[in-house]
Amino acid sequence: MKITLNNRPEEFVQGEITVSEMLRIKRFTYRMRLVKINGKLIKKDEYDKAIIREGDNVQMLYLMSGG
């Protein structure tokens, strides 16, 4: 499937994946982040259930420690 990830086209062999699976595939697991699918916030405890489908617009914002 093809999606948009942070305004860039991204392709996955799977037809649909959860947010957790996407983070594993993209090796993003080591960071804290905020995730939105088509403008809807996906909370951390929903990553295993929230499904990313063909054509979805996925936004991620990285949250780095320090302040």
Binding site: R31, M32, R33, L34, K36, G39, L41, K43, K44, Q59, L61, Y62, L63, M64, S65, G66, G67
Partner: protein, 201 residues
């Protein structure tokens, strides 16, 4: 526009500041200098001598509650700014109460888990309320990497989105101060847009 007009407009707003460390203390001072009318500041930490490399505190305040020390410092800069302080750890339960009447919220935590908790809580509670975060400010240099990143219409993250603090990449005054002031700048910009909007309607 004259500064007196800007200050008079900003005096009508309330800004919540979640954390009074490097980001929160510097951002609060900049907002008070700009004339923000009301600051709501929450933190449960005390001033440590190790904080003085970047946070807006003084040697004789080591050992004080950060909220009380910051209130003192803000009052020395602009006594017209009303300040409410909460010496407590922010949680999903108390955020809705503490920041209820704020027009904008500034995320100024150190730990990324807390940043995520606050963002998820604020975005769910008040999807239309601007949230100005700090993310990626460790180390020094790389000034041109510091930027505003947007997520939706209301969330702005200031920082480089990549440098995380560690023993080898400590937070330091210049870069933390830039990001804290970027956050204050974003607050002022958003609130001033409301003035031009009012004038056009």
């Amino acid at each position: 526009m004259k500064f007196s007009e800007i200050k008079s407009h900003l005096g009508g707003y309330s800004v919540g500041i979640a954390g009074a460390g490097g980001l929160g203390s510097n951002c609060a001072i900049a907002l008070a200098r700009s004339g923000i009318g009301h600051l709501v500041i929450a933190d449960h930490d005390i001033v440590d001598s190790g904080n003085l490399n970047r946070q807006y505190y003084f040697i004789d305040q080591v050992g004080m509650k950060k909220t009380e020390a910051l209130k003192m410092n803000i009052e020395r800069v602009n006594p017209e700014t009303k300040i409410d302080i909460y010496d407590t750890e922010l949680t999903r339960e108390n955020i809705p109460v503490i920041f209820r009447d704020c027009d904008i919220i500034v995320e100024a935590f150190d730990k990324s888990e807390m940043k995520q908790m606050l963002a998820e809580t604020v975005l769910s509670l008040w999807p239309e309320r601007p949230l100005i975060m700090g993310s990626g400010l460790a180390g020094y240099g790389k000034t041109n990497k510091l930027k505003e990143s947007f997520m939706g219409r209301t969330l702005i993250a200031c920082g480089d989105q990549e440098s995380e603090i560690s023993d080898e990449l400590p937070p330091m005054a210049p870069r933390v101060g830039i990001v804290a002031n970027m956050q204050a700048n974003a607050v002022v910009e958003i609130l001033m847009k409301r003035k031009s909007h009012e004038n056009n309607t």
